[in-house]
């Protein structure tokens, strides 16, 4: 499974551009719409998909993703259904890596072994679990690696050079650099600061480094993508979905096309990123 992730990063690198990683919340605003959104993402230019697992207490997320999680849970989403979204997607796309992103408790309650078996079976390639730092690797990271699922770690501005090796030790797939100290949906910091941080991480690892938190526009994607191997866009997509819904939070005809249009723009941004770097 890890192969799919590595192959994707290699393919995109050979195109001379950064990878576009797109996040959306599984089950927002409902299961079927979510499946349609996911299927639309690669067609609009997404290279890797982060599929959010809703949690009642998303401590690292800003209001946009908090609300997306609430809409999803209200519509009856569960971890089993989120894995099912991935399975439905895999029926027609075998090339786009899928990374599940969320918090540990729903996985813990589902049962780690059962979760890893089901995730692998559904064609999931990696996991990002916000509240499992390296100190907690025995919980999920090591079992996931043994099964062949990537465990993608977040590195942050507080992860100094002393700590970085510990964070990178069991990381695979890619490294997710969180652009600022804060929650999802905050403002993007100065791209030149981010470039420095990416360089610092790259002296410690051969893995690709993707940057997320605060990337909202094609222009951001272009600027960050000039130095990073990939850019992650989440809140902008979640906001786009939210803005398309009815007052009761139901999907409309504009929901999926709205995401497509946004991602197409972001994709154009990353495709011109290295041109920007060369300028």
């Amino acid at each position: 499974m890890t192969a799919r992730m590595d192959r994707k990063f290699a393919d995109v690198a050979s195109e001379g551009r950064p990878v576009l990683v797109t996040y959306f919340m599984g089950g927002d605003p409902d299961f079927e719409t979510s499946v349609s959104i996911m299927k639309a993402l690669p067609k609009a230019g997404a290279d890797v998909i982060e599929l959010g697992m809703p949690f009642s207490d998303p401590m690292a997320d800003g209001p946009a993703i908090q609300l997306a999680g609430q809409r999803s849970l209200k519509a009856g989403q569960t971890l089993a259904k989120t894995i099912e979204i991935a399975r439905r997607f895999r029926e027609e796309d075998q090339r786009t890596p899928i990374v599940l992103m969320g918090y540990y408790n729903p996985i813990y309650i589902y049962g780690v072994d059962r979760f890893l078996t089901d995730a692998l079976d559904a064609g999931i390639d990696g996991l990002i679990v916000v509240d499992l730092p390296p100190e907690m690797d025995d919980e999920l990271c090591i079992p996931a690696l043994e099964k062949g699922i990537n465990f993608i770690r977040l590195a942050t501005p507080t992860t100094d050079d002393r700590r970085l090796p510990k964070v990178l030790e069991n990381t695979s797939g890619f490294v997710y650099y969180v652009s600022m100290n804060g929650i999802t949906g905050s403002a993007l910091p100065d791209p030149s600061l981010i470039a420095g941080a990416v360089e610092r991480i790259k002296t410690h690892t051969k893995l690709p480094v993707c940057v997320g938190f605060g990337v909202k526009t094609a222009e951001h994607a272009r600027a960050i993508g000039a130095s990073a191997d990939g850019v992650v866009v989440g809140t902008a997509i979640v906001n786009q979905i939210a803005s398309s819904l009815t007052e009761e939070g139901k999907a409309t005809d504009a929901t999926v096309p709205g995401v497509e249009a946004l991602v197409r723009g972001l994709s154009a941004g990353v495709r011109s990123a290295r041109l920007a770097a060369a300028e």
Partner: protein, 406 residues
């Protein structure tokens, strides 16, 4: 009861990873990891530093008013007709509850670490008031996150915090209670890592908080033990405390954990009954899970989503419990039982009339359990209860329920 071997102390935890058996740990975002490691390093230094202890003792004596008295509740004992009932009177502390013990300790740590801004979460507002108080005393700005529901039902404490110069930020996410306030405080901390100290108000959260808060609160049990030996020449037969996150309870329990003859009972909020969702009995009606940095008993559904609890008392309205309590339950050293809203309310009124003490609704839960057990015990037996706070903050809530206009 299973007799644990003497060498196998119940007071040895946590291990160096912050575990009490399978409970505890450090389940936090990477951004916070370096911060809690710094905090742990500073705490490890401070707890062995005589100067730190001296400062803590000095403020305890002259600012908080320690030791708090041990009081024999003569009329209540007579009325119930069984065991002798003693209260450890934490409600007489400065700011009206045990919460100040922990706040003084942590603000001294914050100072040592050079932090310049304090954040805290609060439910009943007692921890918010205690945090705002020590922040004023040490000249640091303080932001208190409080669920919007709690802001409404604990209005007097909100006003107190504001008078003390703290900024109270109402949290509307979720049900607007303590767990939502804690989420919001964590979001603040992750954003303001450089200057901010997160002053957690109970013996929960990521390591080292459960251990550190316990150690700051353990003074309650240490004093009570000495006072009881002085008053009765022996240890109590039963120690009882209410459990929200578990700080006042672990504070009074800890000194007695290895005393085999002492039975220990923690009282959870049974709300409107354990059948539905309107309670906060994490141990009696919950299951182990991971929230707010630690593994512990939680109220959750089959998908691992955390439920909103309910209690008449805002300070017990938390769907989790400190990890050490989860462990003490599983090893069988402490028994945890629920008390319903209406039982707590009756106990509140009984103590007020019989002893002239208006208790907070939180320890009223412990009191209701005392009222159940005392008559079944012999007159030569002794109960020690932690009277963790005074009830001034609750008179509006109680007045409303009793239909008495204020």
């Amino acid at each position: 009861m299973n007799e644990a071997p003497k060498l196998n102390s119940f007071r040895a935890g946590p291990d160096e990873d912050g575990r009490f058996g399978i409970f505890g740990g450090r389940f936090v975002a990477e951004t916070l990891m370096p911060l809690i490691l710094d905090l742990q390093a500073e705490w490890d230094k401070a707890k062995n530093d005589p100067a730190f202890k001296a400062e803590l003792d000095n403020l305890g004596a002259h600012y908080i008013g320690r030791p708090s008295p041990l009081y024999f509740a003569e009329r209540l004992t007579e009325e119930l007709g069984g065991a002798k009932i003693y209260f450890k009177r934490e409600e007489l502390n400065h700011t009206g509850s045990h919460k100040i013990n922990n706040c003084i300790g942590q603000i001294l740590l914050a100072k040592r670490m050079g932090k310049t801004r304090i954040i805290a979460e609060t439910g009943a507002g007692q921890h918010g008031v205690a945090s705002a108080t020590v922040a004023a005393r040490f000249g640091l700005p303080c932001v208190v996150y409080m669920g919007a529901t709690d802001v409404e039902r604990q209005a007097p404490n909100v006003f107190r915090m504001k008078l003390l110069g703290a900024e109270v930020k109402p949290v509307t996410a979720g049900n607007g209670t303590l767990k939502d306030a804690m989420n919001e405080a964590l979001r603040d901390w992750v954003t303001n890592v450089d200057n901010t100290y997160y002053l957690i108000g109970t013996a929960a959260g990521p390591h080292p908080y459960p251990e550190m808060v316990r150690d700051f609160q353990a003074v309650i049990g240490q004093e009570a033990k000495a006072q009881m030996l002085e008053a009765e020449g022996r240890l109590p037969d039963l120690v009882i405390a209410a459990v929200g996150g578990g700080s006042n309870a672990i504070g009074i329990f800890h000194s007695f954990l290895d005393d085999e003859g002492v039975k220990i009972v923690g009282v959870e909020a049974g709300g409107k009954g354990l059948d539905g969702d309107e309670h906060c009995a994490s141990i009696t009606a919950g299951s182990p899970g991971v929230l707010h940095g630690n593994r512990t008993y939680l109220l959750q559904d089959g998908d691992g989503q955390i439920k909103e609890g309910h209690s008449i008392s805002a300070g017990l309205d938390y769907p989790g419990i400190g990890p050490e309590h989860s462990w003490l339950n599983d090893v069988g050293r402490v028994e945890y039982v629920p008390i319903m809203d209406h039982e707590a309310l009756e106990a509140f009124q009984m103590l007020t009339r019989l002893e002239g003490i208006i208790p907070a609704l939180e320890p009223s839960h412990a009191l209701a359990e005392v009222i159940k057990r005392a008559p079944t015990m012999g007159k030569d037996e002794i109960i020690l209860m932690n009277l963790s706070g005074r009830g001034d903050k609750d008179i509006f809530t109680v007045g409303k329920i009793l239909g008495m206009g204020l």
